[in-house]
Symmetry: C2
Subunit: 404 residues, 2 copies
């Protein structure tokens, strides 16, 4: 039931990145891949953001430890079907064991140059043995043209692989950006989303790369929500291999815009494929005093089960939107300043129903598959958009039957 | 689908309070009452709490204005089926008009001695004419024995009227407490719940009454949630008529305990009758640093759609509970201290899966209709309980079809 989401178009290789995917046996269906290896060239820089959930999964702990020791990461090992979260000391040992299995196959590679990632069921033991046995197969099939296979291998409840490529010309040279992501439930990233990997062949200094991932994540993965549930395993990785012989600086606006486009596309893909989604909804909050205020209002509307069920029903029950705005935890909301729009239709002007509004107009907007709600606070100059999905029978079905 | 909720037992009159209910025409079904009048004796004290939603409904604005002018309130006029919220200036005028119609029927009564309350659909014009025409009928049928009729008259999506009486002996005299409430969706009161009215014939000074309503609401209506959506119309009223000739003071522990029992019973009735509920769930958070921390953790678990769908499915997917605890916005959560119980079964000890735990044990607890989740933070001395419901197909159905 993905909303406006298609199979990815052509995915362009990124010089310095090779990938492979296999079936390791975590998932029962033999036809589905569940283990992905990403090899990164020696010269690459890498920046990462992780979940802020205090119960973070073992692989997140291990990845953070490795990044603290190493600037040069050479391999990412990603499994789907098992989150290795809530697994205690055993989970930590298992994550290390998987990294070790990768390190042993590569010439003189220390274990901390490998980052582990897991996504899937929480609180089940990771089948580390099966994963380790599959590592040789992954090395044998590494290829720079396997981004789609990688995108498929990290899927869980996703119904579509999510991936995109962009090329921009910087200083006369063509630079490629390719990214993949996964996720469709337990989505309210508070740092980065479930799993996302973006690589470019541009050369980008580590400090700038860190700044770019922060900037791009803020307006993409940190601006989406399905259910308000922040995952224990969220991770987002940005890789710059530097092999395109183009150096990016903080003034490279074409490149930075393209990078943000890729991040936004990937983040929005997650919402389009949100569990049970029948609508793709943007909540734009305008003229707030601060960005945090704008995001708080946007998220409060986006998380309201009553707004989400009205969206599912295509019911222009805008009183529920107003009620959600009214309970948002911001300091100084002046209700007599608030304007509310559904698409181009004004519902509320200065806090009271707009005289021109007719139910049929709201109904017309609500019946669309892609809906834009605009809340204008008329207080300041800060804007933010949050992307979300509706709450359908299928959301309940998918999550009630997840383990059965 | 109410969980463990029955028709109210015998409701005892409270000296100094008379009630009546009628069908005024707000609801289309002629057999259903939608308008209630409560008459309070001259000598009574009354305390009130209202929604903190900044888009509060017109009747809330009017009630607050009247309370600011008056200590002696004589009538409560309550309609169901229409919230008179999001109705702008017209809504305010309509609310006043209804109060005026009551004032005109009583000998030399000023309009500000009447408090209006509305509950139902947001953003529809209140049919004030129909309400005003019904006022004489309400006066003609006032009776001290009509608490059940009043409880029925304020219902919206409720499937049961919610009411209870308690008697306690104070200084050798019998004191009666009777209360009614309504609500089953848009429930996450942030001051008081949708609508609740509790009366006692005890004599209680205004300042003590204010303190008692605050204390009782904190551990009852302000500790429940269905969907996290704070209504625009929440109001809770506590009346002490003083006609039992017993004076309550801050040491009257029997009476205060009975009062809190009434508040808790009424608040929990709302959860038992929550929209689409198949489970009644208590989330007890123990040994937090502050009460606010305990409530934040409890509400984060209670609002998690993933926890709620697992509860609906009777699936002991406790990883979702842990993930919700981990994203709660409290300063200093130490995950290595957290214990988690389902009923009497320990799932997690000091942040990691308990060695004794078996899936069958968790399953046994989850299959019950009433479920208790205990989160022990082992950090401080503060405890709080939050009561909530599960997220079922019927919740989506009820809220998707609310206006159709």
């Amino acid at each position: 039931m993905a909303v406006g989401l298609k199979q990815p178009g052509k995915l362009l290789p990124v010089l310095g990145v090779r990938l492979s995917a296999t079936h390791s046996g975590i998932k029962s269906n033999l036809d589905i891949t569940d283990l992905v290896l990403v090899e990164i060239s020696d010269s690459a820089n890498l920046s990462a953001t992780f979940t802020t959930n205090k119960f973070c999964a073992a692989p997140v702990t291990v990845a953070k430890e490795h990044l603290a020791k190493q600037t040069s990461i050479r391999y990412l090992l990603i499994n789907s079907g098992n989150a290795n979260a809530g697994t205690g000391e055993q989970g930590y040992v298992d994550a290390i064991a998987c990294c070790q299995a990768v390190a042993e196959r590569a010439p003189s590679l220390s274990v901390d140059k490998v980052l582990p990632f897991s996504t899937g069921v929480i609180a089940a033991k990771l089948p580390a043995d099966q994963i380790c046995k599959s590592i040789p197969r992954l090395f044998d099939s590494l290829d720079e043209d396997k981004w789609l296979e990688a995108a498929q291998g990290i899927m869980t409840t996703d119904t579509f692989p999510k991936a995109i490529s962009e090329q921009v010309v910087v200083s006369g040279e063509t630079v490629t950006i390719t990214g993949i992501t996964k996720g469709s439930g337990m989505i309210k990233p508070d740092m980065a989303t479930m799993l996302a990997y973006v690589a470019t062949d541009a050369k980008i200094e580590k400090s700038l790369l860190d700044a770019l991932i922060k900037k791009a994540v803020a307006c993409s993965f940190n601006s989406i929500t399905v259910d308000g549930d922040t995952s224990t395993n969220d991770a987002c990785i940005l890789i710059a291999t530097g092999q395109a012989n183009v150096e990016i600086n903080s003034e490279s606006s074409h490149f930075i815009e393209a990078l943000i486009r890729v991040f936004k596309y990937l983040a929005q893909s997650i919402i389009r494929d949100a569990e049970g989604a029948t609508k793709f909804v943007e909540i734009e909050v305008k003229n707030a005093l601060t960005i945090d205020d704008a995001k708080e209002v946007g998220y409060t509307v986006a998380h309201s089960p009553l707004v989400k069920t009205a969206l599912f029903a295509s019911d222009a029950n805008w009183g529920r939107i107003l009620a959600a705005v009214g309970r948002a935890k911001i300091e100084a909301l002046d209700v007599s300043c608030v304007d509310l729009y559904l698409g181009g239709t004004c519902l509320v002007k200065k806090g009271i129903p707009d005289g021109e509004y007719r139910e049929a107009l709201g109904q017309l907007e609500m019946s669309k598959e892609e809906i834009k709600i605009t809340v204008d606070l008329n207080q300041g100059q800060c804007n933010a958009s949050i992307w979300t999905s509706d709450l359908s029978y299928d959301y309940v079905k998918i999550n009630a039957e997840y383990r059965s």
